[in-house]
Subunit: 410 residues, 2 copies
């Protein structure tokens, strides 16, 4: 290929500011590791329960009953039957009335978070980000030139006292946070679920400082014993929070389908910045049918049992093999266990040692909005086959023991 402006050597000269911020590296997303490893890494659903049959059955129904609409443009808000199903289901689950004009279908929650960022962020804007957090969202927010201020968490979740401090600091400087990004329920990576009193305080603070909460709820429906407290969206009466939800964890990440709920004026503004002519009408109507038939709710009920059983197995393994080297709090749902290590056992070294033994885990600065990592590792118990959990914990324990022994001999 001839030497041109469009080859790798010259491309950086012509790309946009946003592309420059992101750099040329393609973000790996949460693709499964192709090597034969025991994976505690990606936030991916359980493989044997992937709902292929539910989708084919719903697709058959849609083509038999609704083919024309399903195969045509459905507009930027998304297919009406899916929005209707989501508004009805959300009214029931959230405990506040949710109307169809508060609901927009998006191509996965990462897409929805990106649309929110596109709609609200200019370079120099400030976003408060619960820290640690999901790296993909922080990458998106950063790409729009916004400054991210890390607000730390404790074992219960976001520290609302620190949130207030940061909001006040901004107010003192004559600024305002464009939004507060958080994952209050079965947090990624920390696993914790924010208690009701802190949720209420967050909504008060959002009102008081006239800002908005972006509530990422990818894992909220996957509770094990009891449903979580009401969402920030519900507690705000739908007017100081946008809740972004996903079918990725309750159906399949490969759908790339999710939805947003928020104040209708803002949702409409988000629809107006889209250039993609809407998410898939076909997929949207297929999922809408899976909701109406009850198949999705039955599937979610089934998943709750599977993930609880996987977590139990994981905790058994950790107690057996890793207990001397780490502590953790049992999550009430979701995909993740967040292990705290003592100072002498650096999480980076544990990750490397585990990797050598064919066990992959998550750790590091990528989870932290300010890049200052704590000494934790993230274990996903969702994806690994049930049969491999104990062996994975055994190897992880050996990796921790090696790192601890090396540290002791120094």
């Amino acid at each position: 290929m001839a030497e041109t402006y469009w080859d790798a050597n010259h491309l950086e000269e012509v790309v946009s500011q946003r592309a420059k911020i992101l750099g040329p590296t393609v973000w790996a997303a949460a693709a499964p590791d192709p090597r034969p490893v025991i994976s505690f890494a990606g936030g991916l659903p359980d493989i044997p329960s992937l709902p292929g049959e539910i989708l084919v059955k719903a697709a058959r129904w849609v083509v038999d009953n609704d083919a024309k609409e399903a195969l045509e443009y459905n507009g930027t808000f998304g297919p009406r039957p899916l929005r209707q199903a989501l508004a009805e289901r959300s009214s029931r689950l959230e405990g506040i009335p949710v109307s169809m004009d508060q609901v927009m279908v998006v191509s996965g929650s990462a897409h929805g978070i990106g649309i929110m960022a596109e709609t609200l962020l200019d370079p120099g804007d400030t976003v408060l980000v619960e820290s640690p957090n999901f790296p993909g969202s922080m990458r998106t927010i950063r790409s729009f030139g916004a400054e991210q201020v890390a607000v730390p968490m404790d074992d219960l979740g976001l520290r609302v006292d620190r949130l207030e401090e940061e909001l006040q600091k901004l107010a003192d400087a004559g600024k305002r946070a464009k939004f507060i990004y958080c994952i209050p329920t079965h947090q990624n990576p920390a696993g914790c679920t924010l208690p009701l009193d802190r949720r209420e305080r967050m909504v008060e603070l959002a009102r008081q400082y006239n800002t908005l909460i972006l509530e990422d709820d990818a894992y909220g429906e996957l509770w094990f014993d009891n449903p979580p407290p009401p969402s920030l969206f519900a507690l705000s009466g739908g007017d100081h929070a946008v809740k972004i939800s996903s079918f990725s964890k309750v159906l399949a990440t490969g759908l790339r389908l999710g939805w947003t709920m928020g104040p209708s004026a803002l949702v409409s503004r988000m629809a107006a910045v889209r250039f993609d002519m809407g998410s898939s009408s076909f997929l949207g109507r297929v999922v809408g049918q899976a909701i109406r038939s009850g198949d999705m709710d039955r599937h979610i009920e089934n998943l709750r049992g599977i993930y609880k059983r996987k977590l139990d197995r994981m905790e058994d393994g950790l107690r057996r093999y890793c207990a001397p080297y780490c502590t953790w709090h049992r999550p009430e749902g979701g995909f993740f266990l967040w292990l705290e290590l003592p100072a002498g056992i650096p999480s980076r070294d544990v990750q490397a040692a585990a990797n050598e033994k064919g066990v992959i885990i998550g750790q590091g600065a990528q989870f932290f909005a300010d890049g200052r990592a704590t000494n934790h590792v993230r274990l996903a118990f969702s994806y690994v086959p049930m049969e491999e959990i104990e062996e994975g914990c055994h190897r992880l324990g050996e990796a921790m023991a090696e790192v601890a022994a090396r540290a002791a001999s120094k």
Copy 2:
């Protein structure tokens, strides 16, 4: 709902520059008109031939044979089986070798054009836009703050002499076009197909002025008697053009699936700006299977006959009822007829008069990058049922006669 920053009254104060450029109106896309009208308006596929059964059959295959991968993240470039199928098929159809790393799957061609704009455009950049053109793409380009310079067309397509003038004008000012946006084959709205010599000249000019062509090929495969000349992408050897293609017109607009081909370094850069974690693995693998099974190619072959027959019926109707009031060139493929009206019969008045008779057609400044409309109307012959074409033409002829009579009586 309480008065907040996030309601309709205050929202404009906090939205991004890009959202401000776009304004609060949600773009209607090409949604079918819900009224009982005869529609010559939207660029939508024929309804009876929508490929529901092909999709369900392919979905069944994917769930039986490839469920795990289809239901997991497949990364930002898109599902490998679809990229592989597209690279092989494109190598055959384009006549140049196309490798998988030149192919990225996108959520419809509008999405692909948006990603290209995100990757390359900053406020103040210049894009040369063939005019008239598809309003959705011009809206997207405008939203990134780029200046669009209209390059006019004649009956054969883009005037390459005028393109050269504009490129030289920019060069004289020390500037460069970030890209040249065009639809060389079965153009929307003008219907024409750019001849080979002009294509070759465009590629020469792109090389000479070191810019890039963005070739929108939504309609390219829907030729009637003979395939069009080689694509600009092929003529450039794949290094001065990005070709964006869509499954919308050859399968269904409701899929929201398409693909881009271009220099691998640029395609990779486009993948790196995405925040959506890729297009649907499930849909992508379903369409990949429809390609591999031969179903898509058989479907396209069938569509060619259907659209040719619709065009024949439309031209019969126009000759019978509208010939005194307009002229046109028969397109060699695609969805559109572009009627030129004499100065005494303004296209706006014809549109209004036809609308009163229950016939909807396209016209106006929305198709023109500089907003200066010519006196044309666009008729889509693709979507209207075969049975309604003659009646539609009859009413359109009556509308034209009324407008002409009003003009004569002035």
